[in-house]
Structures are given as C-alpha cells and as structure tokens.
Symmetry: C2
Subunit: 396 residues, 2 copies
Amino acid sequence: MPRPVGELAPPSRLLLGPGPSMVHPRVLRAMSIPLLGHLDPDFLGIMNEVQAQLRHVFRTTNVFTIALSGTGSAGMEASLVNLIEPGDTVIVGINGVFGGRMADVVERCGGIPIKIEAAWGKVFDPQQIEDALRHARGVKAVALVHAETSTGAHQPLEGLGALCHRYGALLVVDAVTSLAGVPLETDAWEIDACFSGTQKCLSCPPGLSPLTFSTRALEVVKTRKRKVQSWYLDLSLIADYWAEGKRAYHHTAPISMIYALREALRLVLEEGLEARFARHRRNSAALIAGLATFGCALQAKEGHGLPTLNCVTVPQNTDEALIRKSLLAEFDIEIGGGLGPLAGKVWRIGLMGESSRQEHVMALLSALEQIAGRHKGRKPAGDALTTALQSYASCA
Amino acid sequence: MPRPVGELAPPSRLLLGPGPSMVHPRVLRAMSIPLLGHLDPDFLGIMNEVQAQLRHVFRTTNVFTIALSGTGSAGMEASLVNLIEPGDTVIVGINGVFGGRMADVVERCGGIPIKIEAAWGKVFDPQQIEDALRHARGVKAVALVHAETSTGAHQPLEGLGALCHRYGALLVVDAVTSLAGVPLETDAWEIDACFSGTQKCLSCPPGLSPLTFSTRALEVVKTRKRKVQSWYLDLSLIADYWAEGKRAYHHTAPISMIYALREALRLVLEEGLEARFARHRRNSAALIAGLATFGCALQAKEGHGLPTLNCVTVPQNTDEALIRKSLLAEFDIEIGGGLGPLAGKVWRIGLMGESSRQEHVMALLSALEQIAGRHKGRKPAGDALTTALQSYASCA
C-alpha cells in the first residue's frame, strides 16, 4: 500500500512559460461536466460544433478538421506519418527544436529529410525554400514551423503553399504556438496539413491537437501504397469517426477535453480573431519594452518576433536559473528557460490566450523589478513598469 | 463565422456501455483545478504520486509505470511498437475485436503476427499458447487481451508469464477493461507490458493510458537495433520525462487529466482493491440474474464472464437497436451494442468503477421491464427486479 496521497491542492501559478497557458474558469468548469458516451448522438453533435469552431479558427473550409486525441506532438506525428511513405523526401526547415523534431519524425516514417537550416531566431526566405525544391526534385512535402517555440521566431507563410504546389509538394505547418494567437490562413496560404496544440493560444489544457488536412493532402492519404505505420494516428480510420453519417468507432475520444476545447473556442469566437491578435501584439509590445530596461533583447531577428512566445536574452551577469526559481517560489510565476544551444541564454515568456493580459505583464515586470532591486541592494527602480505602461498608453 | 454555439449543457446520462463509465464528482472537480506547468516541481511531485498509485493498482514494483498521453489504444500501440522490430514474430490471441487490433498493430510495426484464435466469447488455454510457442520458435512476444471488451470474456493469465519466459518470449497484456475491476497481478503473473485505459474501471474520463513495463521489457527497448517508429510513443524518450531526477521535456503532459487520474486512483485506494473487485462481482451477478428473466444469456463461455463488461445475447424477437435507442432517449441510459460478428446479437453492459452500483443495476432493469411490458401490452412484470434483489440478498 503506497503512502496515501492527500487532496489535490496545487499552488496557484501564473503561467507565463511556453505552455500550458492560463485556462479560463469557464473552460475549467466545462471539464467538470459529467460525461456523455463517445458515440452518444448528443456527443456527436458536440463534435460537429467543435469542427465548425476549429474551421473558423484555422480559417479553412477543410472537411477534415478535427481534434486529435493527443498533444501537439501527436498532431505533428499524425501529419507526417499519414503523408510520408518510405523513400519520400521532405524538406524540413530547422531553425529551432521543433523543426529538428519534424526531421526526426520524417526519418522514423522511412522518409528522407532534406534539412534546410537557419540560425536559431531567424526565419526562412521563400527563395531558400524554392532553391531546395528545385535542387531536390520530386519532393513530397515541405515542413515548416510557423511559430518556433524554442526561439520565438515567427515564420511568414504567405505564398509558400502556392510555391510548394508549383513543385508538386505539400505544405505541412506546425502551428502549435500560433493558432488563435497570430494570423494563420490555412486556405489562403494553401497549407495542406496544419496541426496545433490546445494548451497554447487556445488556453485550453493540454491533451488535444487541432488538426486540418486539405483535399490535396487527403488524396495523398487515400492513395498510399501501404498502411500508415501508426494505427492510433491513422487518419483514414480517424476520419471515419469524425465524418458525419459514419461515426465508426476507432478509439474512445477524450470527452472532457473536447468539452474544454469547445468552451475555449467559444471564448476565442466571442472575442473575435482580429481583436485577439491585437491583444497579443499589445501585451507583447509592453512586455518587450519593459524587459528592455533590464537589457533583455529579442532572440528573434529582423522583426520576426512572435507576440505569443517572447524569447529574450537574459540580462548580463545574472544567474538566470536562479531568477526563474525565485519567480516561481516567491511570486508563483512560471516562465521558461532556453532549450538546446539557447539553454542558460534566454527566457521564453509565453503571453498566450488567457496569459496575454496586462495584469500578467505588470505582475511579471513587478517581480523582476523586485528581484533586480534586491540583487543591486537598492529599491526597485520602476523603470520597467513605467516603460510598459507607456507602451500600453501609446496603443490606446 | 460559424453559427455561435451555446453553453455546454449535455443531457445527464447513466453510462452503462463499454466505456466511458460514470465519473465520480471528486474526479470531475479535480479536473477543474487550475493548472501547473508540466515541469513545475509541484507537478513533478504529483506525477510521482500517480506513479506510486498506479504501481499499487497494477500490483507491481516496476519503476516504469506511467500514464501515457493517449487513450487505451495508444497504450496498446506503445506497448507493441517499443518491443517489436521488423521481422519479429508475435503470437496474438484473437477472440474478439481487440486481439484483432493488436495483430494489425504488430503488422504495422513490421512484425509478423502468429494468430491463434478462439471463438468470440471463449478464452485461451495455456496448452494452446504453449503449442504456438513451441511450433513457431524464437517468438518475441505473446499478446493477450485480459478482458475482451467486445465479448466480455475474461482470460485467465496466471502462469502465462512464466510460460512465455520459458520460451524466451515477453507477455504483453491488454488490461483496458480489467485494471481495478478484476484481479490483475502484473508481477505475480510475470506480465512484461501491461496497458489500460482511464475510462473503464478507474472511472476517470478517457484520455490517458496507464502503462507498466517490466525490467525485462525495458531491456528489450534499450537494446533495440533501430529507433522506435513512433516519436510520440517512444518509451525511451518518455521514460526520461517520468524518471525522477531526469524530467527531460518530451511533450506537454495532459495536466488536467493527470489531476483526474490522481483523484480516481485515490478513490480506488480508499475503497481497496479487494472490496472493489467484490463490488464488481456482486453487481454483475445481480444484473445477469435479472437479465436472465428476459432470456438474455452470457456471451462468455464456461464461467469466463467479466463482471466489468457484461456481454449478453439479446432477447429473442426483439429489435435490439430500438431498445437501446429507447433506453437512451426515454431513460437516459447508455448500453453498448455488439461489434463485428456480434452486431445485432448482443448487448454490452458495462458495470465498471462508478457505474457498478446497485442503483444503476436496478435502474437499467426497471427500464427494461417497462419497455418489455409496453412491448407485450401489459404491466411490467417485475421479475427482473425481484431476481436481482434476491441475488443481492444472497450475497449479503
């Protein structure tokens, strides 16, 4: 018999890391609603609603628009494993952790990743992608990260779908940290497979991966020579569960998570996408302005910083891990550290969905002011707060 | 802009199908607790607690005992995809849908399934398994379903691990519909890989797969010749996240689902496994006795019926689908229909976890009495209720 565990009573945190983000009380409440069965007609109606909501947020008319039963990484794997067959070549843009992960997944599918690289914090130029397409020939797909969570870089995608299609390739996009936080135009940008996660700008708990496939991508799935190597992520089977009129049992959908996602999407639609994007930009600008007073600079280059994931260099001569520990222990604020080559060099501050609020920006800057003041043995200067407030005032 | 969806207000159902089962209010409440980050020291502490709870329920000391971020089917795939390499032979017991699914997964891993079959509703004899092991030689693993959700058959497993090990094979067990509902002895029965789902006898919402691997199974994972084909389900990577002291980021754990599982496991431990098994047996016996008055017989043969999933033949000359529809629409009670060759021939009535309660048994029998009475144009006879009550009285 293990030591009995007590009632669950976690501390109350302000989540400003790379995800999960804060969850709205309405979404938390939705999860506490008693369950329907996964084949109950009322639940199937809820699935229809979630699909319509997701199409709106993805800006697509794709019939195949679903919430996959796994986290964003499952969405990444599902996107690739259904499209790639052994021997297929895939151009993968690597400018951070998640591009690298896609190349790994491509290899595990028996595909051949053609890695194009950019410095961490930089984005890819259309010319670089076209050169790779022309050079490699017969490329099956191009896989890019819209919002690189490890560097905060925001990849422009407009026109890239058409470019890929001119070379007969599909465009696969990781929108984990962008969906519902920055503009994403699945149809207008001709994206063929686009996956996201619920715990970022949708402000829903982690556990589902919103996913959409174009007709072109579905055609590739339908005409595969061999079965998808993953049964769990086989979209031809999953499609039969999500398709109205079919609803063939595949696996038991995570009912409560679907409830949560439905409510999170309702909140997104109530706010409106444009207003939501503007809010993300406003809070990010104020945060960046405030952080600049400590000497923090954006890791992303040439205006390609994400408002959802603010990756900044840490102030000089500071023990960044100690500051993060102090933020968590004393102020109940979570921010993220750097990954890979950026470990110890950057902070990753997520202002996604419910986390992107003025009071949260001010709370973080206040805490940093206090820590900095203590470090220097003087009263907090207040510069960061003033600068952030001025940034807000200039937006108003 | 899609038609705005209203507040989530699903009907209140009594879930007596093959899962999800009813969820205790304490578990629903746990899901509405605000989130910690997935690398927060407090969350890592919660993971430790869940691991200890799971070890208790699995009756194992396996270090690698986790909750996988997917449903039971993801647990099935993770178990097989990590152990099997191309060319490996796996004996798969097929006596229902889920054995067939395992054979499909083995093939998708490049393995060669050796299918041993039994009639739907029957179980496997150790001799049949030993014959297959002797005949095939060099078998990598034997995969069996402990509780076949499609037939309600309860496979005895005692001694089978030792048998497999004598032939150098691993024993992989699908315990989706058995864990915490009927005795399962991972260590004593020498099971090497055992997976389950949260939405059955644990009475937690669907979305996680409890999973445990023996040292022997982990050794096979460690000495693989090639990478696991699934990145998302690669247990060598996932192990580094769950390992105390390591906690390397792999993917974002479904925080709220882990909260729910922790609370569901607390309820299991408070009740005690033996008392819980007895409760499942008691309610199943009463249900079966009551259903017999309608002419329903167990599909599982020779005393191998599961108390958690009662698969019974439908009464003669009835439109079984119409009765299920009526149960749902008029009485808000969900039961399951048959799958595959049993479609239209059986009902699958789950009495798992919170669903396994006397009041639920009586509610279902009452509804069936009313429907039967109406069908025959007479008052409900009450025989089913009386018989069920007598069954309860004989247990007391």
